[in-house]
Amino acid sequence: MKLPIRFVLQLSLLAAVLSAPTPAGAIPAFARKYETSCLTCHVVYPRLNPFGEAFRRNGYRFPGVDSDAVKQATIVMSQEANKKTFPNSVWPSWIPASVPIAIGFNGQAFGYPDKNASVPRANNGAQFVLDDLVAEGHIWAGAAVDDTITLWGELTFSSSGVDVEHAQVLLNDLLGPKHLVNVVVGRGFPTLTSFGPHSSFLGDIRMTNVPVTGIYGLSTDPFTLVDNYNGAEVTGVVRGRVDYSAGVSTGKNTFATKFNSENWYAHAGFKLGGMRLDGEGSPGPANAMKPWAETAVTVDGFVYHSREYFPTPGVTPASPTGNSSLSAGGAIRGQLGSLELDLGGYDQKHDRATATLGSLHSDVEFAELSYVLFPWMVPAVRVERIGLRPSGAPDVYDVHIMPGIAFLLRANIKAVLVGNIETTHGFALDATGAPIPWMGGNADWGNFVMAPRATSAPTSSFGEFESIALFIAWAI
């Protein structure tokens, strides 16, 4: 079977664009606010250490009274004493004396040791690609207006334009004990695990995405679990050891008709050992030289219901077709000092997701084993699997293996060197029954990209050394 090279290339690039949100969370605006090093919260950024995770869960606030830790000058909008004169005064608040923003850039380069691998095969036998060495610019904003309300935002600039990736107001400590009930409103990632979304040393996001309707060519902007959505979320930490979230979001709703997506999700997690999830009352790391290290196990689970819309195939003028999906899954992170095993997975059931609008089950599994050898060097290996079980067609799956090393050249400059190895056991099928390439993954530099060869059958099994990728990022 002869595949149109252009088609393969387009899908590969689409996968690179769609499979993962961009890095966020590493934000030197916080370093300036507290006059503290990036390493207070990060290992190899944006990956967070236990304190950084607590800071994130607390709505970007230090344990205790956040303003006690703030060293950056502030301008008071209304004094604390005005609580006594409310409603005749505006409720007390402040703003940072300097604009609380940070900037950063990132991108990736690829080398292709095997010119017969999927991407070079579709790209004139390229041996390396530097097109995305500088792929994105970011402006982050993070600030507090008092001890309970914080703001978080991110603009991303790329060749495709400017995207508001995050714009959230975090209303913390609304009810009951501290950290119990918080509300987040705006655009951001849904909280589906106990850890931050950028919780991978080698990739970007912790949870591997599977853009099912993208794989089958139904949508150019397919729904995935982890992406930037408009929504509202209730989240909190109970007694320091249990965390939860529940929210509604628009999901992907880019079809011009703009139907209401009515997405909802919920998550709960539990941590045994190590620092409390909210970081309160921490005696500090057992080894002061290794603030990332702890002995702990964290277990969490989630459910997510989504509805997305895409143009009905073959219908002119375009009319929307809806696809509902229900996902359920969980993850376990075990930490033994500097050694960590992070694994999880989920099952996702779609009612209309194949090229012929048939139902489908997909399953995703991921595991990342890492060891913080030095505070600036983390060797790791990540394994991911995506399985598709469409109705009326063979079950297929693809396994992606990423061995690599994450480096900090300086506290705010990082590099990740990874190999991408992939083995497929079949392909999804288009409306004519022809095999089509894989998509998905956890990072722009670590995607599922296997494409069928000219001789491939729908259930062909083979492996490829896809690429060696170098990801570079800096933030200041």
Binding site: G64, V65, D68, A69, K71, I75, V76, M77, S78, Q79, E80, A81, N82, K84, T85, S89, V90
Partner: protein, 196 residues
């Protein structure tokens, strides 16, 4: 000429001799306050909680310059009057929601308002026109109180001999009170560690 010089010397000596016992009848409390976090240190007053006697009312002043209350913390005694000045070229308002709340209305450059503080306690000073402005008047039962300096040190002079409760007030932090015994002509040293 010589007689006049001798007479002045004698008078001066007699005056000094008369004053010496009065100074020797009081003592001094001094010391240092540390704060965690240190950024709140400037808003600290160390004071003798209760001291016997009656104290003649005095008048002190708080100015407003460059949209700032000067001094940031003023310590007065119950019954004292504070003049609030305005040396900015914009109008100000001074009010406090604390203890015995008051509002002095709006007053323009070079005008002043006065307020007599008849109840003890810390008063936040606010300006409704410039909500970022903040100052404090700390009203003590007695005059034996002092705001700390930039290094956290304090000195309370002319304290009659006796045993007292020595307390510290801070806008955000706390520290346990201490008991001090003041002896005539002596200086007693105490320190406080403020925290949440």
């Amino acid at each position: 000429m010589i007689r006049r010089l001798i007479a002045r010397t004698v008078v001066a000596s007699l005056c000094a001799a008369a004053a010496a016992p009065a100074l020797a009848q009081t003592g001094t409390i001094t010391g240092k306050v540390e704060a965690t976090p240190p950024k709140y240190l400037a808003e600290t007053v160390v004071y003798v909680k209760q001291a016997p006697g009656t104290f003649a009312p005095k008048t002190a002043a708080v100015d407003q310059k460059s949209l700032t209350f000067v001094p940031h913390v003023l310590v007065v005694t119950k019954g004292d009057t504070v003049k609030f000045l305005n040396h900015d070229n914009v109008a100000h308002n001074v009010y406090s929601p604390d203890v015995d709340a008051f509002n002095l209305g709006t007053f323009k450059q070079n005008e002043e308002r006065t307020h007599a503080f008849t109840k003890e306690g810390p008063y936040s000073l606010l300006c409704s026109i410039h909500p970022e402005m903040l100052g404090y008047v700390f009203v003590n039962q007695n005059p034996y109180a002092a705001a700390v300096d930039a290094k956290g040190t304090f000195t309370i002079k002319d304290v009659p001999p006796g045993t007292y409760k020595l307390e510290v007030w801070n806008s955000h932090l706390k520290a346990p009170e201490k008991t001090v015994t003041v002896a005539a002509g002596q200086t007693v040293t105490e320190s406080f560690a403020l925290k949440r």
